[in-house]
Amino acid sequence: MIQRSQLLSRLDSPRVLGYLLITPAAIILLGLLAYPLLLGVWLSLTSATLGKTGEFVGLQNYATILADPIFRGAVGYSVLYTVCAELGKLVLGLALALLLNQRFRGYRSARALMLLPWVAPTVLSALAWLWLLDPQFSALSWLLIQLHLIHSNIDFLGHPWSARFSLIVVNIWRGLPYFAIGYLAGLQSISKDLYEAAAIDGAGGWQAFRRITWPLLLPITTILVAFSSIFTLTDFQLIWTITRGGPTDATQVFTTLAYQRAITGGQLGEGAAIAISPIVFMVVLAFFVVRSVRDR
């Protein structure tokens, strides 16, 4: 009995219990996250294919993809997609937050409904967009024709630039609520006294926004943009469901190309190299996230 209680009290010491409690998380994250991450770096340096381990080939996969115009196109569109979508989400999300921040009747239901695109599974809402953008039966084309803005149906996803643009709009549609809620939290933490003082000094609405609201929202902006960029840059669901990287690779991004090369095509080594390359951009973004989280 004495031994057992001694054992129990030893188990309960912060050091032993601490390590015990983090063990499940450590096993999962080391085995299924850290190890695959390193394995991915290794794979990208080999000629592995589906079913064959392959040999070490140094940087050959990277040389191959850098010379590949499809990969370069994918890098270009990944960056364009991320930059445009982030700008759109920032501006439209902030505007929505400013709207919601004014107390009005139906505030709670408006806020709840506006979050729906963020909550609904992306693939399923992307299917609805795919149907809305249909070349023959698009309801959007029908609306534009009724408004006499166009004469015949637009083939939204059939031409490179309209497909690229459409995907950016859908990405903004999905991510805008995240920015709106983030900004709304930021706005609600700004003291009303500041605006009263500014009003006494004769500042108008725009001036109050530029001198008070925007500077105080800057830290939150960094976090929102950095987080959202990491996941926009590596977006797969939306683009894969709507265009699969087409028409003729015009909307190919890192992840869709990596999927096609590695899973469909079986070229694991090359696919791994493509999948890892956004890390260059992500390290920069992660730096901003870590810094602004630490500053707070």
Binding site: D12, L17, L115, P121, L124, A128, L143, I181, A275
Partner: protein, 271 residues
Amino acid sequence: MRNLRIYGPLGLYGIFLLLPFYWMVLTTFKSRQELLNTPNPFWIYHATFSHIVDLLTTTAYLQWFANTLFVAVASTVVSVFISYITAYAIIRLRFPGSEVVSTAIFLAYIVPPAILFIPLATVIIQLHWFDKLWALVPIYCTFLVPFCTWLLIGFLKNIPRELEEAARVDGASNLAILWRIIFPIAVPGLISAAIFSFTLSWNEYLYALVYMSSSYNKTVSVGMTTELIRGDVFQWGQLMAGALIGVLPAVLVYFFFVEYYVAGMSGSVKE
């Protein structure tokens, strides 16, 4: 005048943000003929349930739905439990290296699945987990555990220490404090974490797409995109019926706990 300045723009946002959902509902209940030829696509003239009936009787949709539900519930329970004990250890026990663990968890949170899915596929094959539905539970934990732990760390930080110190004076062990004292207070945080886990698992696509191959093991999103879209003929009625039914669980859970959801979202940017 003030009303117009708020409700006007709000209405425009509403149209843009809710349009695809309206479109799902319309298409689900429109007759086949009306889908292709109609005087006004934004209205239903002849409502029908045939798309839903076809979907449930001629495809494996119900199986996919059950699979998604199982994986989402199981990975939510497992990851919230693991995250709670991890967050407690990091925040309250302060063992040597807890700072490092906390940073590592945060870094794990920002590693997107899209850069992991290829090497993870080789790990899954070596473990003989390929095409096994339950394997999605530990796989989903790789993004749920970092997220929930991070959320719960923020939450546990704000619980005053006095409570547990009083219990400690009374001779309570750390483990007893973890279960009897902190756990009941942490319930709102745990609910937040659970809702996020559930919606994130319900939304997951890439891992399920790559690691599940037989129709019997697919989730809703994967089954719909790989088996209902074949060739150039799209069964839009069935597809939108499936999308609508597939959106419902995530949306219902969200509407029940909308305040927890918003609090968690705001908290994750404030911490």
